[in-house]
């Protein structure tokens, strides 16, 4: 049988929380359900003190239930206070979308770092998601990496809501601040020529500054690589480090163009490993960061 996100969060908390924490949360959710904003603001702040900050202990089964309840939902990094906070938000009356938006924005504007992480992850489960596309873009302008990652990683909303311009900026910024691309949901689905051009320019800047080029860049740039980009890839494929060679092989394999095949032939051994699935983007991301 399948569960709703609320049921899943309730079950997960029930497994781990103390009786007093559980009772506190129930009382607060009731108050919030009446539209009492002061209760929401205070309870949102006090959740870690009342219910703890432990990681949620989730099984494969739980992850599958989550993905079934809300496609794209990956609560792999969630903590128990985060689950409690999301339940509080889900208790808030939401018929009036404008009022709901104002209340959430108030929380965003006054949130500390862990709260912001929670809020950005919570949106995927809340109503009126379509009102928050500007908020997501605003969040990616942060210079706190963990907040950026709460939007970019394991979060289906950027893929679902962001304009192409905002999406491209998010991907470019991920590379810029040295965070992985692989956990971005919908990464391969939303590649586009403009993004590839930005990434290729970025690769050139890095070469000029004698700084390394992030290896995941080629995954997104390769499908639209121009002549110069292919030259770059050819050079790196010949002389780069092993991780770079693997990444370029994988990128070229997926483009299936004649030029790509010519480059791959110059190092057939790595090409074979890329074709056979022995190398994956997930492995590359894990080794790179």
């Amino acid at each position: 049988m399948s569960y709703t996100p609320v049921q899943l969060l309730e079950n997960w908390i029930l497994r781990q929380a103390s009786d007093s924490g559980q009772a506190w949360l129930d009382t607060q959710r009731e108050a919030v359900a009446t539209g009492d904003l002061k209760s929401l603001y205070m309870a949102f702040g006090f959740a870690p003190r009342k219910i703890g900050k432990a990681d949620l202990q989730l099984t494969e089964r739980d992850y599958n239930d989550a993905a079934e309840a809300r496609p794209g939902w990956m609560p792999h990094t969630w903590t128990i206070d985060q689950a409690a906070r999301v339940l509080l938000l889900m208790s808030l009356p939401a018929e009036d979308d404008a009022a709901f938006f104002v209340t959430l924005e108030k929380l965003f504007q006054t949130a500390e770092i862990r709260e912001q992480i929670c809020l950005y992850q919570s949106l995927q489960l809340l109503p009126h998601q379509e009102l928050f596309d500007d908020r997501l873009s605003e969040g990616t302008r942060t210079n706190v990496k963990s907040i950026f990652e709460s939007i970019a990683h394991h979060n289906p909303l950027p893929m679902e809501l962001m304009s192409e311009q905002a999406w491209n900026q998010m991907v470019l910024k991920a590379l810029f601040i040295g965070t992985a691309l692989d956990p971005i949901e919908g990464l391969d689905r939303r590649v586009n020529p403009e993004l590839a051009r930005m990434l290729i320019d970025f690769a050139h800047e890095r070469r000029a500054a004698k700084r390394p080029i992030p290896v995941e860049l080629w995954r997104v740039a390769a499908p639209f690589a121009d002549e110069i980009a292919l030259e770059d890839m050819k050079a790196l494929y010949a002389s780069g480090e092993q991780l770079e060679q693997s990444a370029i092989a994988l990128a070229l394999v997926s483009t299936a163009s004649d030029e790509a095949d010519d480059i791959l032939k110059t190092n057939p051994e790595i090409a074979k490993r890329a074709e056979s699935g022995e190398i994956t983007w997930r492995d590359i991301a894990q080794q790179a960061y």
């Binding site: 603001y41 702040g45 903590t79 006054t110 500390e112 770092i113 862990r114 992480i117 990652e149």
Partner: protein, 303 residues
């Protein structure tokens, strides 16, 4: 030796200060919400300021190896703008429960007006509601009266003195503050409040119990190293090491530890790196700048 500076306004200080403080042994600091040198004209300025105290400044301090905590309150000077004060009181519940908030403060008197008293009382009640200690700012002018009046009011609200730090004391006020059972804090602030030679004499005279040393360093001519400098001067002038540890570290820990949000283990045994909050991996550096490396570099070269 490790130090706590339990009263410093680092929002107005530079990263050089953070580096110097960490090097001098300052492990944790508390930044009380106070005024910015000029009055704020709308509640949004307060909201953004409070947000920076619970968010970005905590993050920035961590970049330099310093644990940052804060107190949240409507300060006495700005309590005199009643329309604004009302709005600030409304947003305070959004901030008092944040994880690094260790007290309601700094609140108290400046001109000793009726409005200052009104908001002092309202905030004392708020502190009771959220179960937090209180940090009291005592006025520059008419200090003795202001200090005594603050304590009278706290007693009317039945807040026990062990939950209250009275700050900016001097030779004139500290005896009564200690006698009534409060924590007595002293601001080592050049030229105006208290010099550190005077501070050494106070510790020699009254002993270390419930005495707290801080810098209040802010946007004025002040010294973010005031606590370690005073601690070292005490040692040099024959104050026993354990008295230095109490006045420059342990007393602050005991007083603000009552919030449940201020624990030595936070900085002595920090939590293992956590991918979600990963301070080490975050950066205040602009793109491409190298992170801090702990070895001398050729400072003519900018990489």
């Amino acid at each position: 030796m490790k130090f706590i500076d339990p009263h410093i306004h680092v929002t107005s200080r530079t990263t050089d200060d953070y580096e110097a403080m960490a090097k001098a042994g300052v492990a944790a600091i508390i930044e009380p919400a106070f005024w910015l040198g000029q009055p704020r004209t709308n509640v949004g300025s307060f909201q953004d300021y409070f947000s920076s105290l619970v968010g970005f400044e905590k993050f920035r301090a961590a970049q330099f190896g310093i644990r940052h905590y804060c107190t949240i309150g409507l300060n006495s000077k700005e309590a005199n703008n009643e329309a604004l004060a009302e709005q600030v009181m409304e947003i305070m519940p959004l901030f008092l429960a944040k994880e690094n908030v260790v007290a309601v403060g700094e609140i108290g008197f400046d001109d000793m007006t009726a409005l200052e008293e009104k908001y002092l009382r309202l905030q004392l009640e708020m502190a009771k509601e959220v179960d937090l200690p209180v940090l009291i700012h005592t006025p520059h002018r008419n200090k003795k009266q202001g200090t005594y009046r603050s304590m009278d009011i706290i007693e009317e609200h039945e807040i026990p003195p062990h939950l209250v730090v009275i700050d900016h004391n001097n030779e004139e006020t500290c005896e009564e503050v200690l006698r009534r059972g409060y924590w007595a804090a002293f601001t080592i602030y050049p030229k105006t409040k208290m010099g550190n030679e005077r501070m050494v004499e106070i510790v020699k005279k009254y002993g270390p119990e419930r005495i707290i040393v801080d810098s209040s360093a802010d946007w004025g001519v002040s010294d973010p190293l005031a606590v370690p400098k005073t601690g070292n001067l005490m040692l040099e002038r024959g104050v026993p090491q354990e008295h230095v540890e109490l006045t420059c570290y342990k007393n602050a820990l005991a007083a603000y530890g009552q919030s449940g949000q201020f624990e030595e283990s936070d900085w002595l045994t920090p939590e293992p790196i956590d991918q979600r909050t990963l301070f080490e991996g975050n950066s205040v550096l602009r793109g491409g700048q190298a992170p801090r490396v702990d070895k001398p570099e050729d400072d003519r070269i900018i990489q």
